[in-house]
Symmetry: C2
Subunit: 682 residues, 2 copies
């Protein structure tokens, strides 16, 4: 016990006092040998011993705060993380599932990019079909730039059923089912070639919102850049989500034609603002770049010329009414509500916002929309009540270029709070504070919200440094109507000197921050405490959402033998124990095969070169974690079959020879013997 | 200080005594407020407060040992991991770079599988060319089952220059340069369609060893299974590594024809056994499976019938002499030394080993080869000195099937140590202990080596439980002539109840174990302490090697502007500041473009539909972490250009339209404005 006390070298004033007590207590301490329940010998957790052992391991001593941070993020073997973070993979094209507060990667979900470990896109027909939904015309697109995951919501709370994510590079949206954490659907936006402002869901997930980014002619037809003002368009798309089928219903979906301002991020209203969506924009200057000869103004200057850009605020019900009322035109067969209809029907209004904003975030109660102009040191807070009043009062002027009503800034603005340099995004807690990422300052600012959150709000409380150049930040249950207020994660873009350099491509850095204390408990960081640095060396996450783990109810194993994840139902044609067989019909060979620890049945199959092979394989093991893989050399085929799962792959046996297939998941002591021969006669 | 003492609820006998001291010290403690250097307020690291705060965070209280483990694996922001682990990605087809002891993933290196975050295989010519080296005939293979990473060695020590890895599924070997952690070369084995016993290097990396697995006719030609004994072959391949060019020299490489026993793992001799390589085998029964009609015996039974299989011990110098002396035949143009030559020239001998072994591991001094028959509870230890003596004495009988001399087991065996059920692999420390993974027991056994390591060795010291079903294990600097003895990592195949279940496909579980203490310090775990569980949710690593971080000297940025990682030299044709241009020659358009925070030059390019486009792009930023990405919609192209890097991609502009290209790495406050238009006129 006392040897622990001697450890705290930071407290020199106490050392003498302690020294005396050590002498006394050492005798007592000796008597406690063997009382440890840790099997690690006497007093093994003494902080004195800890830093001695850290030194022996070549590590620096821990301060009190660091030891506490270590303890608050350490999960002993078998303890389950209470929170799960869903982080976009950026240009990895995937999604990352991370346990919190341990900040451990639990799974990389294959979304837009083939991933062989989980058999995603390497022959399995179900997975190949989902990936093919993302093709652009006749181009196979097999990567993505995933940006903004959105968990499905019920009454504004994450319900743990689905998670959605967009691809900025090719304007696509994916649907992931959280029963098995697999991607079930990809939709390609029919009118836009890139997006950014998505995915965000309405409070009951009736709609998945996808906003645009760089304006192009709709349907990405060609139009010369000189006709930018006339032929280039922005957009926001309303994807109708059918919860029963777990799929987007493209036939009930539609888009809005927006001016060629570069729409950026969107958020859905909630509670008092339910029924609205809000989308930022930049480049309302309609800059078109320096051009091939460099004679013009490049985008970074051209898109930053005006003092203000426009928040687009859109009335969902009126937009749906226009779409369902046929006030649309078709682009690639997809209904689009035209800009003039948006004006005529009072579907969309603009609100001026400080130039080049990068986030619009709605407060938990829905009262306010918080915007950060990244070149302005303030967050600007708008009131939905005031916006609705301004609309009622026709307190607007038309936008010179588009004619869209621009609400009176002074009538709609509730507050501005100066935070620092490069504010981007804002999240919220359960105590009436906002948290805003500051890219240039490399900090997270904590500030107080005004009524009804705090009587005396709209004030900066302070900030905590982050390393380095934070983009988004994510709070636990942060986009719901009831954030948890325990943690914020800083999604830092540069790590520079935080980790060992694995070559010139450095990881990103997620930093876990405890926000459970009030600002006055640690004034220099406004009560925030840095707990953990997590390097992200497999993608560039842009945004993340964090859900309570107990809201998720994934399958441990598939519910029945022969389950097909593509349909989430039993495949009646799935091989089962006793139905294994090979059928030949001319040059077509169809195989029904099962896998069980530790063999395939059948384990030897002979075909003729040129035969078309249809191969069905079921994992008939039913115990948790009893996954079997399947690998076939020289045919670029690999499957991962979780317990009960069935899969089918087809190919032409073009190459004659002898090809051993085998199980790729170490499944038993005789795993290496789980193999067979596929023989192709010349 | 004292509040920490009150925390130790595990020590009830002391509570009263402590209580008294609390009263005394509390007064003193009060006086130390403000002395904290942690900014977290008074005594924030008190273990009492820690468990109180853990409870508030929904976490369970930590025992002493768990708090210590937390502290011994926690790296505060900016502290660099002293060890780096290179883990295979299994059927992810990649390699993982993990910092130790924090067990944080620093990077996923794209090896055999395309990976867009690092621009690996999505248009960049340099990366596409490396991946294409791995094609099998005319089949594009874009995944792998990576098994055994091998760090390059000098005099038996890891030198930090290169790391190699094999692909079991298609018998390929990759070379990764540790200056930029990028894959530089893939070689396809010309005679085998699958492998397993690699990669392992000789002590000075002259040779990279790749052993076979499932026997097939060489060149994977067709031969009926009935001719297995005559036409199916095993193999081991010697790849010549040219350190100067950093490439395998295929023209100086060769293979050995082995009997159709399924060779498994190999290891190279070192010090007293330098000059030998050792390869296990199983299925010396030459089982061929149950067959399509199921009438035969399946592999798991058929390959386990005999009591013994054979370790292959191979004299490198004699093998090289035979290969260079032309005692070879060609398979797909690759020289193969025939089995009879191996016998006639005394190149290869067999040593009986308990059936179905899965690992052969050479002790640091090279004196012993340690083998575990996975169906036998012992490790069996062989002496190279005794093996050499048995060879000198011709103390052998010919193998009935192959004629290879089988050395007398009793003459060569040094010791057998009973460890438990399912022993697989063995690693070593600096104190004379071996560590063996036990798959069925789910433990790591610690046992003492005999002379010269310990006078009274060859004894089981004890074991520590792991969760669950361990395959390989890896020790710090474990395969060198001087292991560090600080850590062992258990590569567990099943995690079952260790983590939240992200659907039916569970992560693997790496467990970090401290082995620095002697067995008697904690008899119930033979002195071993479990420190950390790391879920592996992005692949199934089979093996890993762990190197001291200070042996690695990666680039922070590329040394010069215009650097091409494919050649590791400046590309004289690389675009640089001031040389940006677009040249048109008929229907070919060549672009020289630069990227710098926050724009591309040029930022707008117009071509005609059908033009062939050759696009060169250089990142002219030179500060660390200033990576720029490049994404082009609808063309499946994405690049990652680290500071100074240049890349080229080519495509036919088949689709007319307007395609915004943009930077995918958040590089500055105006990152979103770092974009341009690629226009394709109809």
């Amino acid at each position: 016990m006392v040897r622990r006390s001697t450890s705290n070298v930071g407290r020199r004033k106490l050392l003498f006092t302690i020294g005396v007590l050590v002498a006394v207590l050492a005798l007592v301490a000796a008597s406690c040998n063997g009382d440890d329940d840790d099997g690690g010998g006497d007093a093994s957790a003494s902080a004195g011993d800890i830093n001695t052992r850290r030194e022996a391991a070549g590590l620096q001593p821990l301060t009190d705060a660091q030891l506490e941070a270590a303890a608050l993020t350490y999960l002993p073997s078998g303890e389950i993380d209470p929170y799960i973070m869903f982080a976009s993979g950026g240009h990895a094209g995937q999604m990352f599932v991370i346990g919190m507060p341990s900040m451990r990667l639990l799974k990389t979900i294959g979304v837009f990019t083939p991933e062989p470990w989980q058999g995603w896109g390497f022959g399995n027909e179900g997975t190949d079909a989902v990936l093919a939904q993302g093709d652009v015309g006749d181009q196979e697109i097999r990567w993505a730039d995933t940006h903004h995951p959105a968990l499905s919501e019920t009454a504004g709370e994450y319900d743990g059923q689905f998670v959605f994510i967009n691809d900025k590079a090719n304007a696509r949206v994916a649907v992931i089912d959280l029963r098995d954490f697999e991607t079930k659907q990809i939709v390609k936006n029919p009118i836009a070639i890139n997006d950014h402002g998505g995915t965000f869901v309405t409070p009951d997930t009736e709609w998945i919102i996808e906003g645009g980014q760089y304006a192009t002619p709709h349907g990405w037809e060609f139009a010369p850049i000189e006709s930018y003002d006339d032929e280039y368009k922005g957009m926001v798309t309303f994807w109708k989500f059918d919860r029963a089928s777990g799929r987007i219903d493209e036939n009930q979906s539609f888009a809005l034609e927006l001016p060629p301002y570069w729409q950026d991020l969107c958020d859905a209203g909630k509670l008092v603002s339910e029924g609205w969506i809000f989308c930022n924009s930049f480049n309302t200057e309609r800059a078109t770049g320096a051009g091939e000869d460099g004679s013009g103004e490049n985008f970074e200057a051209g898109a930053s010329a005006r003092d203000n850009d426009y928040m687009h605020i859109i009335d969902i019900d009126k937009a749906v009414a226009a779409a369902q009322g046929g006030k649309t035109f078709d682009v690639n067969g997809f209904p689009v509500v035209g800009l003039q209809t948006l004006i005529d029907d009072g579907i969309m209004y603009f609100i001026p916002e400080p130039k080049s904003p990068h986030g619009v975030d709605v407060t938990p109660g829905g009262e306010y929309m918080v915007v950060s102009g990244k070149l302005d040191p303030h967050v600007t807070v708008y009131s939905i009540e005031k916006a609705e009043q301004a609309i009622a009062n026709q307190d607007w002027v038309p936008d010179e270029y588009s004619g869209v009503p621009v609400l009176n800034f002074d009538s709609v603005m509730e507050a501005q709070v100066e935070l620092g340099l490069g504010p981007l995004h804002t999240q919220f807690d359960d105590k009436g504070y906002g948290y805003t990422s500051l890219f240039l300052d490399s900090t997270v600012a904590r500030w107080s919200l005004g009524p009804p959150y705090q009587d005396d709000g709209w004030k900066l409380e302070g900030a905590i440094p982050v390393n380095y150049n934070i983009g988004h930040l994510a709070a636990a249950e942060g986009d719901t109507v009831s954030p948890d207020g325990k943690y914020v994660v800083a999604l830092n873009k540069w790590s520079i000197d935080r980790f060992f350099h694995p070559g010139p491509l450095l990881p990103q850095n997620f930093q876990l921050i405890d926000i459970s204390a009030e600002p006055d408990t640690a004034p220099d960081t406004a009560g925030m405490q840095l707990l953990y640095d997590m390097p992200i060396g497999m993608g560039e996450p842009h945004y993340a959402q964090i859900i309570k783990a107990d809201k998720l109810a994934p399958f441990d194993v598939y519910p029945e033998i022969g389950f097909d994840p593509a349909t989430m139902a039993v495949d009646p044609n799935a091989p089962t124990a006793g139905t294994e067989r090979v059928e030949r019909n001319g040059n077509e060979v169809e195989i029904w095969q099962t896998a069980v620890r530790s063999h395939y049945t059948p384990d030897r199959i002979t075909v003729k070169a040129g035969d078309h092979v249809i191969w069905h394989l079921t994992n008939i093991d039913t115990s948790i974690d009893a996954t079997h893989g399947y690998a076939l050399p020289s045919y670029n085929v690999t499957l991962s079959l979780e317990p009960g799962e069935t899969g089918t792959f087809e190919f032409d046996a073009t190459d004659s020879g002898v090809f051993p297939f085998y199980c790729t998941e170490f499944c038993s002591a005789l795993h290496l013997e789980m193999a067979g021969y596929f023989l192709v006669e010349p």
